[in-house]
Amino acid sequence: MRIGRSVRRSLAFGLVAAPLVVIGLTHGAIAGDTVPAPGPDASLAEIEACAARNLPDAAGLVEFVVEAADRSGEVTTSRAEIRWRRDDEAHARIVLRVSEPAETAGTALLVIDRESGEPEFHLRLPALSRVKRVRSRRLRGPVLGTDFSYEDLDRLREPMDRADLRLLGPGEIEGRAVWRLETRPSPEDGSEYARVLTHVDQVHCLPLRIDLFATEDRLRKRLRASLDELRDVGSARLPARFEMEDLERGSRTRVRIERFETRPDLPAEQFTRQALLDAVAR
């Protein structure tokens, strides 16, 4: 799924931010201490393999809290749950359900990956008692009133899956050894960024920091993951806290993972439009 291209200022979906972030970071999770990470002089292929070995399980759920602070420091807090499942063709289905605050509780979004690369979206707004399909070829702009754009989420989902990914070499961030990886979106991509610099932790193979540049040297956003506290689920591991800072808007969004479970038994029926309609009926 490729989402988030070209247009910087747009109305957008507010609901898919968190699941994609979580899944994105989980995507890079590594199998704890059981699988040794490649050394500091690892090649790009070795780093990609390190991340690829640690895909999350086919189904699971995550509960998390989002704190979005605007430029004046005013913080809004929301709580949500994501359930995901991969079908037989390895296409993802994701359901996000907001549980707090009360006025938005029950808002839900179903995202169904399609072979075409254009995912299908179904939205449930409890105040309307109905489910609507959202037609859009591209998702853009900030999501969930947060500082993540759909392009950011797309990058997070597949941080190592870029044709133009380039290994710049080892480095150090906040005392931790990292590999520095760079992508430079071509003008045809319509990206809001000219350069993306990803710092991958050499111990956990997790993205520790991602710098998103609006121009060659103008930093627009910075994503930081805290590796001091990790959530382990089976062989997967992900940071419990991460933060996106938008230097242009002067705002920041903190995400805190409160629960992370792999649940291979999650039934496929939960990931359908009918399931959202049934929730309306209830």
Binding site: G14, E74, T104, S136
Partner: protein, 700 residues
């Protein structure tokens, strides 16, 4: 420019803190072929070109605009230009769709559909940095290059400020040499000597270098007020130096000439500097800065007049030069006789004129012309007229509404208040359109709403509003709604351009905001509102400082005459030119602003200078002869050359400024010249008449 505790500044700071920079310009593209496949492609190209300019924070426009609508039970969210139109029919359909979108019609797209605009927001940066980078011109140039076949114009407060800065800088470079040459030439004529005539000019140049150097050394940039210090130095410095030169020419020895003039020159400078220093108590930092550097400038020109000038004069004396003829002195002797014969008539006539001037002065309005500052045919004036016509107003400001509770603007009742306020705002003649979160919600509600036949209206449930905003939160809403939904802004597009128009409009809006229900507070704010408040306070501050200076001069005159009565009487000829000046302002309809208010101080400085020299010579004559008439017969010819030379030269310099492309600069020059001529007339007629009528006992 406003102090930190000023309410207007506080609201503006809060606006910036919550919603970011409001330094925006409008780039308008007009073309008959705008809504054709080629025209739309050109527009996208222009948008990307402007977005790529360093210093541009964001660009809103058709190329980035999103359309939300209900289709067959689904909701479609797509960029208007997700797919560029490939036929004329598609382009025309795009135009029609835009004209019925309340978020786009009248803001991005002109109401008749023949033009579209980019709203360009700049990074927040110091005005000087903006000026040096010419970001506004870079935007205009990029847009024109990308759309060579379209009519492209630029409007907006940042552009106006930058344009004023560029014109002032260019005129400074062009006019200063002309003024120096002119004043030097006239000085040479009055003193019948090239070398002597250039001495006052040299003193002015030295005073200017010292003053501007001190400002630079102390890291003080020239601003809208301190930019008036160079002409102040020019006027005062020339007057002080000319008196020293004239006294030297009138006496046999250099020592005698200098000794004779030191007291009045120092006394004048001290009173003028004291007047400026009284500004240090002003609440505005720019006015305090002006007071400090104006006092410094007065001191610098005094030192130059009392050091450099005598030194140069000694050189001239050593080389031997001719002295000016006595023709002018003879004319002043005749004038003195005239004054003595018609003293009462002169005083009576002056009193009548003073009453008329006082009456006219009551009609003065405080106003800083912003767009009207440029000539009617200027590019910027025409651009504003076009943007006003197409989009309902080139100037933007905000009405900021604050509630006490988080989520307050999720309540339909609060949103209906906002809608009612917008309706009221749009009924004001100076307002062409408004935008708020209400329009976004109406569009979202229509696209997702519960009705089988969608209608555009405010949702009737708070939870639905919250859910729509969760779904529809975007960067366009960044300037309209905070994340806690407790503070919103209404973006107002206005055709008002002068600060008095903004002031009147803001007062009406404030009165309407006072009617908001309990729990809601509202304020007008934005760059244009701040400029209005600052201009108003600067002008009033300078006018008040004039009163302070008058008080200071009165005290010093009382001390000088050692008599309250004589001191106050001596104050009258100093005040008359100032009164006539304000009478001229009222009679001509020229408004009080930072430039015209400063001219009051300059007029007072010059009036004091000329009057003091005459009074000092008069008292000296009175002590020598004991007869007021004889004292005047001696004093007027003695100082006549200096005050005439000063007046003619300074008037000539100000007339050059009168040729400025900026209206308030031109008014500053022309009014200044007229008033200094009046001040001269007062000094050579009214002051002698007063001396022989009311100051007969002013013997030292």
């Amino acid at each position: 420019m406003l102090p930190a505790d000023d309410p207007s500044r506080r609201f503006y700071e809060e606006l910036l803190a919550r919603f970011g920079s409001d330094d925006r310009v409008v780039v308008s593209f007009r073309s008959d072929s705008l809504f054709t496949p080629e025209g739309v492609a050109t527009l996208v190209r222009a948008t990307r070109a402007v977005e790529g300019i360093p210093g541009v924070r964001s660009v809103e426009g058709l190329a980035n605009a999103i359309r939300m609508r209900a289709i067959d039970g689904d909701v479609e969210i797509e960029g208007y230009l997700e797919t560029l139109p490939s036929t004329r029919g598609e382009a025309e359909a795009l135009r029609r769709a835009l004209l019925v979108d309340p978020l786009r019609a009248g803001s991005f797209v002109s109401r008749e559909g023949g033009a579209t605009a980019l709203l360009v927001t700049f990074e927040r940066m110091p005005e000087q940095a903006f000026l040096e980078s010419s970001l506004d011109l870079a935007v205009l140039e990029a847009a024109r290059q990308a759309a060579p076949d379209m009519h492209v114009v630029l409007a907006g407060t940042p552009h106006v400020k930058a344009e004023v800065g560029r014109i002032l800088a260019a005129e400074l470079v062009r006019m200063v040499p002309v003024v120096f040459v002119l004043m030097g030439g006239l000085s040479c004529f009055f003193f019948r000597s090239l070398r002597i005539g250039l001495i006052p000019v040299a003193a002015v140049a030295l005073g200017l270098v010292w003053t501007v150097g001190a400002m630079g050394w102390l890291g003080h940039d020239l601003n809208i007020v301190t930019t008036l210090i160079p002409p102040l130095v020019l006027v005062l410095g020339f007057a002080y130096a000319t008196h020293v030169v004239a006294s030297d020419r009138a006496h046999a020895s250099a020592e005698e000439g200098l000794a004779r003039v030191v007291f009045p020159v120092v006394f004048t400078a001290a009173t003028t500097a004291a007047g400026f220093l009284s500004l240090l108590g002003n609440g505005l930092e720019v006015i305090r800065g002006f007071g400090l550097f104006a006092a410094l400038a007065t001191g610098a020109t005094l030192v130059a007049a009392l050091t450099l000038v005598p030194l140069l004069l000694v050189t001239v004396r050593r080389d031997g030069t001719s002295t000016p003829g006595a023709a002018l002195e003879r004319r002043f002797a005749h004038l003195a006789e005239l004054d003595l014969r018609h003293a009462r008539a002169i005083l009576l006539g002056t009193a009548s004129l003073a009453v008329l001037a006082g009456a006219a002065a009551t009609r003065i309005e405080v106003n800083l012309p912003v767009i009207e500052n440029f000539g009617p045919e200027s590019r910027i004036r025409q651009a504003y007229a076009e943007v006003d016509r197409l989009y309902g107003g080139a100037n933007q400001f905000f009405v900021m509404l604050q509630a006490e509770e988080r989520g307050a603007f999720e309540q339909p009742a609060a949103l209906r208040e906002v809608a009612a306020l917008q309706t009221w705002l749009e009924a004001q003649p100076e307002i062409g359109g408004t935008t708020s979160v209400v329009q976004y919600l109406e569009v979202l509600n229509e696209a997702l709403g519960p009705e089988e036949t969608p209608t555009r209206r405010i949702p009737d449930r708070a939870d639905l509003v919250a859910q729509l905003l969760l779904f529809g939160a975007n960067e366009e809403l960044d300037v309209l709604l905070d994340r806690a939904h407790r503070v919103i802004t209404i973006l107002v597009r206005s055709t008002a351009t002068e600060t008095r128009q903004f002031d009147a409009l803001a007062r009406r809006i404030d009165a309407r905001l006072a009617e908001l229900p309990a729990g809601l507070r509202g304020h007008t704010t934005g760059n244009a509102i701040l400029l209005t408040r600052a201009a108003d306070r600067i002008a009033r501050g300078q006018a008040l400082s004039l009163l302070a200076a008058v008080g200071m001069i009165g005290l010093l005159l009382v001390a000088y005459f050692r008599s309250l009565r004589l001191g106050l009487l001596a104050l009258v000829p100093n005040l008359l030119p100032v009164l006539f000046y304000f009478g001229l302002l009222g009679a001509t309809g020229i408004t009080l602003n930072n430039s015209t208010a400063l001219m009051g101080s300059i007029v007072l400085g010059i009036a004091v200078d000329d009057t003091l020299h005459l009074l000092v010579e008069y008292r000296r004559g009175l002590a020598a002869h004991g007869d007021p008439a004889a004292a005047i017969r001696e004093a007027l010819p003695h100082v006549g050359r200096a005050i005439t030379c000063t007046t003619v030269a300074v008037c000539a310099g100000l007339l050059v400024v009168g040729g400025s492309a900026l209206r308030n600069q031109a008014e500053f020059g022309l009014l200044g010249a007229a008033t200094l001529a009046i001040a001269w007339l007062v000094d050579v007629t009214v002051t002698p008449a007063m001396c022989v009528t009311w100051l007969r006992g002013a013997r030292p």
